[in-house]
Amino acid sequence: MFKKILVANRGESAVRVLRACREMEIPGVAIYSDPDRSNLHVRYADEAYRVGPAPARDSYLRMDTILEIAKKCGADAIHPGYGFLSENPEFARLCATSGVVFIGPSPEAIRSMGDKVEARKLMEAAGVSVVPGVTSELDDEAAIKEIKRIGLPVMVKAAAGGGGKGMRLVTEESQIASALRGARSEAQSAFGNPAIYIERALQRARHIEVQVLGDKHGNLIHVGERDCSIQRRHQKVIEECPAPGLSDDLRKRIHAEGVKAAKAVDYEGAGTVEFLLDQSGEFYFLEMNTRIQVEHAITERTTGIDLVKAQIRIAAGEPLWIKQEDVVLRGVALECRIYAEDPFNNFMPSPGVITVFREPGGAGVRLDSGVYDGFKVPMEYDPMVAKLIAHGGNREEAIERCTRALREFTIKGIRTSIPFHLRVMKNPTFIKGDVDTTFIEREFLSKGLSEERTHDEVALVTACVAAFRRDQAKALELASGRNGGEDSPWKIAGRQAALRRI
């Protein structure tokens, strides 16, 4: 087993991996950019080293600096978490040449699946259905021709893409030119590569993904599937394991296709094969994520398998210790991604200092977060502050628990998406399990989203009690002989800060 693992990530993702290290009694090393010095992952690690200034390209994406730190501190393996360098084949290759184990698949697997056009070709060759479209790079003229052949609606997608960037939906012919231009320019700026490809746009499809685990000895199994249809701007918001309402037969066929896709690239470690399932029950390969995903925790909850520890054991060369028939799901797990954003103000980011952080607890609740009471959520990085995972004996209980936990979860000082998640939990379409990737748009955004202020009376009363207490305290201070008026708020704040700083 490894002697020391460096975690090349930050926040919740890094804490998740460091937890696995602690359980395995492997020392864990954190890296941090300047604004992240007091981040929980730094405090959680056994060792911590500065990696650079705030911008990711100067810190968490600096492959050379990270490898240097690994060497300096004697780490013999690097876990990339999710995001940043986790799907960078060059980094995986550099690790290998530097004699440090990259905890993840081979550079070749990352590269083939990272190039969406190449991945489509590979899958077609392996006999996995892909969304009908064009599997080659196209100039604009050829693209227009192909769009007409495939028939509207289509998706224009970045070949080097992922994460919803460089994507355009085309429903009318007049949109074609601007969609091509927009997708190319976004792809260029996001991935440094303007290549695009065309796929038929599936209407009201569901996003179903298969979790796989493969070892270095040719064993590869699936670990069930997840439904991640609840998305906003192509970003997952709520995920569920297992996917609701699939027939046993369909479920088995999706699992088999997931395994087939992963085997086509001799996949090692934990990975996810994503499919679109259309209304007719047909499903198509969408892409493969060659890393652990944000939503892996719901699979852990229903299967009892710790996927991050599995990644580490596999990377250390252990053969898979579980067989396909050992994978048995129990109950239903939901994940809500809690963002620092204001759902009632167009999901505007809401960075700032968390003044109260009271976590949900009790039966069936798991919380993964990278923040704490008093933490300043930085504006430089992804706004996800926590993942709430709720489990129940069945889907109904999972929703009840999730609702209960969301109500318990108190984060003050910043605005969060918690009230939005609560509305999804109460939404009849969601409760029926009748979800697809247009769910949020159809059920919420198109109808407008506003706060339900049902406690005006309480607000009025509380404001006046607070004002009264402030005024009484002031009067008391005056009476005690001090001239409160002399103290500017700044001086008081300064004194308080000085006291706090000891």
């Binding site: 108190t410 309480v458 009025l460």
Partner: protein, 166 residues
């Protein structure tokens, strides 16, 4: 003690007196109730009003309070009698200008308007980037752009003026 409170444009007169420690008689527009209010975590109140238990997170701001109750947000102006008279005198000379401020720290990606331009309610004036997301800042009022206080590429702090519309 009497306070004048404005919530969502509606004015209320509220009388507060302390009955015993942490227990208050509060009369809202003439309706009286007894409120048991305990401060718990730094900014959180636990309230019991007629048996109902509820929590409010209260933060003071200039001239009032902001609070969240069961996840929803409330913003209230609170003034006592004396301050109210003073405020009236001060604002008598003011106009209905809309000072559009940054609601979070970020970077100006685009400036969508220029001085002298007419804007409508809801029209985008600035695109700010924060936390890897682009956010269009909209005008809260209809009027004319008097000033654009920032330029493309500039880093701004929360509360900093972006655009002045009159």
């Amino acid at each position: 003690m009497i306070y004048h409170v404005t919530l969502e444009g509606n004015d209320h007169v509220i009388d507060v007196s302390e009955i015993e420690p942490n227990v208050y008689r509060v009369s809202v527009d003439g309706n009286e109730r007894v409120v048991d209010a305990h401060a718990t975590e730094r900014t959180v109140y636990s309230l019991i009003i007629g048996g109902e238990s509820i929590e409010a997170n209260v933060v003071e701001r200039q001239g009032g309070f902001q609070m969240t109750i069961e996840g929803d947000f409330y913003d209230l102006d609170v003034v006592d009698e004396r301050r109210r008279v003073l405020n009236r005198a001060e604002t008598a000379g003011g106009a209905g200008a809309a000072d559009i401020k940054a609601q979070m720290p970020g970077k100006v990606l685009k400036v969508l308007v220029e001085p002298g331009q007419a804007v409508e309610v809801g029209q985008g004036v600035i695109v700010l980037e924060a936390m890897k997301m682009e956010n269009e800042i909209k005008s809260p009022t209809t009027g004319t752009v008097k000033e654009v206080a920032v330029e493309t590429g500039q880093a701004v702090e929360s509360g900093q003026r972006l655009v002045l519309v009159e």
